[in-house]
């Protein structure tokens, strides 16, 4: 298949893929404040906890944490300058640890150096959070069932046949009543399902692939291909398959590569047989399944979803018989879809357009991990299921549309009426451009004629997304401080306020 070779073996396609992967990996390193030492410490503490029951592990973690807490309090006491506050702190320490609190606290905290101590505390806090989640999840599930029972007794919800009552019943039925959870290393899985940069990188790659199908529209070449026996419907079938293959490669390299990288960095994927609900981000995911099943489903869904997005964009690009205009049309369509996806709140009836949306497939985990039933003519339909249920029929439709468009669109046609209008506008505009000085002209050439503007926009979009996604890092770096002040704030401020 020469067409496949042309598209998939093109140096620029691989170049882009390599660039995107590098970008993602660099981001993975720079955005993660945790070090190798942290992950080593986490691994060993995790193993210790796994050997215990949840309750025991919880207790051991909390005991050690309170020693750290006491030490922090002691250090605060020692460095406090305000005599009044210092006295309060002393009182507190004495109340909890006796008169010789200084010696006792130092003893129980051990003699770790400061840096290791900080890491150890981070690790313990992470484990504490995980353990708390595992301990509380059964209650959470019970609560879902209880809520359903309770709401049934309320009159407004109990109207037989109404959306609300059906929704409550469905929610209770969708969620399991109990799931076996296991404490394990969740970093890699969590990163995989929350990584939007990876998803959008894959989108960029897919869009680039579809653009390869339009190179023939350069004048002349298109006529050659369209005039050839196999240059119509048959070619479109091949291109559909090539796009799928390209998306498979892109998904495996970008998302698979990143998963592998994060797993290697953070100490593995954890047990593949534990239920996904063991990971906190899956608390609202109603289907119980082991991690390995989820991973397979995830990659399949990503691939199918991206294929669909690629086919949709290709169809748009094909249906406008003028390349720059076609690019504009595709850009506008994608921007519109993105706006719908980003800005419609759940409670609106048009929330359905967030789920019947290309970006629901681009960022599929964000809807998979968010349980929401849409009101479809009074019947609750789970948004995520609607999104993925639509994939097969829409794909079939798009495939047909693309084959038809490839077969029917003629390389030579009457000038687009929009362009005719643009021509009339261009005359005074080009007069203006010709008056620009050399610098302006060069800028105009780079930004407009050579499409540099696209690169600028892409970079802007990326950095914008980057800024937005960055977790409040300062807070993480200073967890120690904020945690201490949070846990101490209550009692002390009360007293100091008096």
């Amino acid at each position: 298949m020469r067409e496949g070779r042309r598209v998939l073996l093109a140096p620029k396609v691989w170049g882009l893929l390599a660039l995107l992967l590098a970008f993602n990996l660099v981001l993975a390193v720079t955005q993660d404040w945790r070090t190798g030492a942290y992950y080593d410490e986490y691994q060993s503490a995790l193993r210790a906890c796994q050997a215990l029951s949840t309750e025991e592990a919880m207790e051991s973690v909390e005991t050690e944490l309170s020693a750290f807490q006491a030490l922090s309090l002691l250090e605060w006491y020692e460095s406090e300058e305000d005599p009044e506050l210092k006295e309060h702190l002393r009182q507190q320490l004495e109340d909890s640890f006796g008169v010789d609190f200084e010696r006792r606290i130092r003893e129980s905290a051990g003699s770790e150096d400061e840096e290791r101590g900080a890491i150890r505390m981070e690790v313990l806090q992470t484990l504490q959070e995980q353990l708390q989640y595992i301990r509380d999840y059964p209650d959470y599930l019970l609560q879902v069932q209880d809520n359903a029972e309770m709401m049934k007794t309320w009159e407004i919800f109990n109207k037989e046949g109404g959306f609300s009552s059906r929704n409550i019943e469905k929610t209770a039925a969708d969620f399991p009543t109990s799931v076996e959870l296991r404490l394990d290393n969740d970093y890699a899985v969590t990163d995989l399902v929350t990584d939007t940069v990876g998803s959008y990188s894959l989108l960029v790659f897919t869009l680039f692939l579809t653009l390869q199908f339009l190179i023939e529209r350069k004048r002349g070449l298109w006529s050659l291909i369209h005039g050839a026996p196999e240059g119509r419907g048959r070619l479109a079938y091949k291109r559909g398959a090539i796009l799928l293959l390209g998306v498979v490669i892109g998904t495996l390299v970008l998302l698979g590569g990143k998963l592998l990288f994060v797993a290697l960095r953070s100490g593995g994927l954890g047990s593949l047989t534990r239920n996904v609900q063991s990971t906190m981000v899956f608390s609202d995911f109603p289907w119980v399944m082991p991690v390995w099943v989820f991973l397979i489903g995830f990659f399949l869904l990503k691939i199918l979803g991206m294929w669909l997005v690629g086919m949709a964009v290709w169809a748009i690009l094909q249906s406008v018989n003028h390349l720059p205009l076609a690019l504009c049309a595709a850009g506008i369509a994608l921007a519109g879809e993105y706006a719908l996806f980003r800005f419609i709140p759940d409670s609106y009836t048009i929330a359905i357009f967030r789920y019947v949306n290309l970006f629901a497939l681009v960022d599929v985990t964000s809807i998979a991990l968010h349980y929401l039933n849409l009101n479809l003519f009074g019947w609750p339909v789970q948004g995520f299921l609607l999104s993925i249920g639509l994939i097969p029929p829409v794909l079939a439709l798009l495939f047909g549309a693309n084959v038809l468009l490839t077969a029917r669109e003629k390389p030579v046609s009457r000038q687009n009426s929009l362009l005719a209008l643009a021509d009339r506008i261009r005359v005074p505009f080009s007069r203006f451009v010709s008056r620009l000085r050399l610098f302006g002209m060069e800028l105009y050439k780079i930004l407009w004629l050579q499409k540099g503007v696209l690169i600028v926009l892409l970079a802007a979009a990326f950095s914008f997304g980057f800024l937005e996604m960055q977790p409040p890092d300062e807070e993480l770096y200073d967890t120690e401080l904020s945690w201490i002040s949070a846990s101490m704030a209550g009692p002390i401020t009360e007293q100091t306020l008096e």
């Binding site: 067409e3 002349g220 070449l221 298109w222 006529s223 050659l224 369209h226 005039g227 070619l235």
Partner: protein, 238 residues
């Protein structure tokens, strides 16, 4: 083997690019002459079904080519006026690519490509990227591409534009050989290129066929000394 054009009409907006063109082409070289914008390229685009027809018919052996579809396109070779190609491919790769799009079997394709590369004198450059070629070399690759699959109908839109004299003479000889058992349509502004090889000459302007005759008659019928002379005379006499 007969390609009939019957009252063809095609307009781009208000501009008539084909206005009732009617003619029957038979095996041999038919040269189509006419000033810029006469509608020569449009005629070829209509025969390759690369643009929508508004009226009239194009029949191959009695059946409309739109009805024949792929079957007709299998018998068609086309060299466009513009020089678009996949710049990253080598000449050899591009020909192999076109052979696949034309539905040729791999083996037949390989043999034909070898032969055609030598016909257009590009054997040495076969493994260089098309993007690095000169205008004349690109022209020759496109010509080779048109002849892949030894089509019964060969449409050459200004095939000699940009070729050096030596290559032009080579090409002329090759086309003459080819034309024995196929319909070859050539448009050109270089009258000397078809002066010796064309069996018949068509003159068109404003989308209409003005005059068509055997080469000898086309020239001597109006008392001209050369084809160029005849072209000017006939174009302005009418």
């Amino acid at each position: 083997m007969q390609l009939e054009i019957d009252k063809l009409s095609k307009a781009y907006g208000e501009k008539l690019a084909q206005d009732g063109f009617t003619y029957s082409f038979h095996p041999g070289v038919s040269a189509i002459l006419g000033p810029n914008g006469a509608g020569k390229t449009t005629l070829m685009n209509l025969i390759t079904d690369c643009t929508k027809r508004q009226g009239g018919e194009i029949r191959y052996d009695g059946t409309d080519i739109l009805k024949l579809g792929k079957e007709f396109r299998q018998r068609l070779g086309f060299m466009p006026q513009s020089q678009g190609m996949y710049e990253q491919m080598t000449a050899q790769d591009f020909l192999a690519y076109m052979a696949e799009i034309k539905g040729l079997k791999k083996k037949t394709a390989a043999a034909q490509i070898r032969e055609l590369l030598s016909v257009v004198n590009l054997e040495k450059a076969a493994h260089q990227k098309v993007g690095s070629f000169s205008g004349g070399m690109r022209q020759r690759v496109l010509l080779a591409q048109a002849m892949l699959g030894s089509p019964e109908v060969l449409l050459l839109d200004e095939p000699t534009a940009g070729l050096d004299p030596e290559e032009r003479i080579r090409l002329r000889g090759y086309i003459e050989k080819l034309a024995a058992d196929r319909i070859v349509l050539i448009t050109t502004h270089i009258t000397s290129d078809v002066e010796t090889i064309a069996d018949e000459i068509l003159l068109m302007n404003h989308g209409k066929l003005l005059f068509a005759a055997k080469r000898g008659e086309f020239i001597s019928g109006c008392g001209a000394a050369s084809l160029e002379d005849a072209y000017i005379k006939r174009l302005h006499a009418l």
